[in-house]
Symmetry: C2
Subunit: 365 residues, 2 copies
């Protein structure tokens, strides 16, 4: 129970890999010459250990370290620091996986609502959920609210802020969130729907807290956060304190050197994300089907006591892809279509078509 | 004044680069098909613009975008989001530089103390400053305090927490910070020194605020933060609110796809760092002399109204390198030596030797 396992892919020659792995174990723990560690407990229990080294293709090795759990303080930002803080600056090192003993999982917390909670919120037991986004940034609160109302009238389950919306002069957070929530409430009353709004929280500690207060007062049903911009620690605290489900956005996730399933599927989930957005294959981003399936797997597979997080593949998706995406991911998924609905002359009709496709599939299977 | 310039290095064929650059401008702004943007103001003023495309070596181009400043809300986390949020997920894109018009610089804030303020704090007008680190993580507060006292007695200007120290069971933040500050105060009284302590703040909003309160009550003279772990927004707010100089640590900076001078030299400074740690050449990390010089340059060169930030090259440095490092960086630098002092049988004597070398050089030139 006292160590987590962090797996790295390291570029190194066969003659140097043992030494390189030992150096990595030191870098990601005491960060000083081990011979100079005079405290026997620290030497025994805190210095990172090389647990496994295996060849992993031409000139590369897979190195598994045992890192002392106590060094994380069970705080998600510090976990990230111990996993990849310094070695992120060493281009020959990639973080590919992380595993924590079960008691540690519970201490980090994980999703508070999870797939089951999100399904209850949407009133959808079996079918995939639907999601769209408010765009473009630069629009007035009134314009964004009108769009939200139109999408809600089309039957979308979740409407989220575009990740580019923050607290900007064109649509200050408070005015935007109040106006959008009012428009969605009105559409729900008119159509008997239960559309939920997730505004994007941004900024440092003071701004985040203030935005959380405003969002709660406005009565939003969910929150969005980009954990790599705001810090995994902010995600963890939001999950502890907000009492609302959280949608994680991958901005700045630049997962080139952290394997996307480890970052988006595992670490975001561990820190409390109930749903995780990621770039689906065949869109504007480069992840392939294999990576996408692995992210979805990491987000929703059984993982000790942690609730499952809902995968949200996105990034240039269209209603025409609904059937293929549900074939690929199954029904425990939220399909996010933004721009393609906004391009339509009638966003409500476009949303309704998207929703109809999803509901039909959800019932059929 | 209404746009910032963000420069990217993009891998693309010559036949597709114009289209790719346009797509990048959309991705980093409205993130929807431009044809579907119906608000004329948004189309004119908010959609990103391609300002320049130039060949940049085999199969690569340098693309400069003009991004609307209003989209940042003048919040540092959101600035990062607009610069590299989504395109961090596109491996063919690197962020290489950023420039903001002068009035925008002042709105982000920059260092509140800067090199001049740090020199005043240390009582050192011309010479390089000296810094060491408290290690290893896992040690008790008493052990870390004893080490701090020993280093302070040796005449070190700044003693910082190892970046692996957080709020952990072996040395909880409050007990550690109080004990270390007391030990440094005692050493200062005994030896007439003015050594300053910079504890590392970690965690989400609540934990950060609580740690700031504890650090202030303990009377620390500086703070350390890893902005890529905690969020650039947290750095910006700390600079606004703490009333203490801030040392930025590059953990998770994984600058492989953000040019280190842009990230560590410019963005950390812009968000308020008074001093910036980075891996010096010839140590445990891979930055070369050219990169290191560029980071130091970006941190301390004139930049509109912003104060200069102090470069802190580190990562496996030794007292034997003092002369060479001062030759390389000049005197506006803080030399950080951690492990090499801790390896010595007598850390006070080792610190004194390091300090003597620096002071001698500082006076000689």
């Amino acid at each position: 129970m006292d160590r987590l396992r962090a797996t790295y892919r390291v570029r190194a020659g066969a003659g140097e890999i043992e030494r390189r792995a030992e150096a990595l174990a030191v870098e990601q723990s005491v960060e000083m010459p081990p011979g100079a560690v005079r405290d026997a407990r620290v030497a025994d229990e805190v210095i990172g250990r090389v647990e496994e080294v295996a060849a992993d293709g031409d000139g590369h090795f897979r190195v598994t370290l045992g890192l002392a759990l106590e060094t994380t303080g069970f705080e998600a930002g510090q976990l990230m620091n111990m996993l990849f803080g310094n070695c992120s600056l060493q281009p020959e090192v990639e973080l590919v996986d992380v595993d924590l003993p079960e008691p540690a999982l519970a201490r980090f917390g994980g999703p508070r609502f999870g797939i089951v909670g999100l399904r209850a919120l949407a009133g959808a037991e079996h079918r995939p959920l639907t999601c769209s986004a408010l765009k473009p940034q630069g629009s007035s609160p009134e314009a964004l609210a009108a769009l939200a109302g139109a999408l809600a009238a089309g039957g979308i389950d979740l409407i989220k802020d575009d990740h580019g919306l923050a607290d900007q002069a064109a649509a200050p957070f408070a005015r935007r969130v109040e106006a959008v929530q009012r428009a969605i409430d009105a559409a729900n009353r008119a159509g008997g729907g239960r559309c939920v709004y997730a505004p994007s929280l941004t900024g440092g500690p003071r701004r985040l807290h203030e935005q959380l207060r405003i969002a709660r007062e406005a009565g939003v049903g969910m929150l969005m956060l980009a954990p790599m911009v705001s810090g995994l620690g902010a995600l963890q605290e939001l999950a502890e304190e907000a009492g609302l489900p959280i949608l994680a956005h991958p901005a700045l996730g630049g997962a080139a050197r952290i394997a996307p399933p480890a970052l988006i599927g595992k670490l975001f989930r561990l820190a409390g994300a109930d749903a995780v957005i990621y770039p689906n294959h065949g869109g504007r981003f480069s992840y392939g089907p294999h990576t996408c399936r692995a992210i979805a797997g990491a987000a929703r597979e059984p993982w000790g006591p942690l609730r499952a997080a809902l995968p949200v593949p996105a990034g240039g998706m269209t209603p025409q892809r609904v059937e293929e995406m549900v074939d690929f991911y199954g029904r425990d998924v939220m399909l996010l279509i933004g721009g393609a609905l906004l391009e339509a002359d009638d966003p409500t009709a476009a949303a309704r078509d998207f929703v109809r496709r999803v509901h039909t599939l959800g019932e059929a299977r």
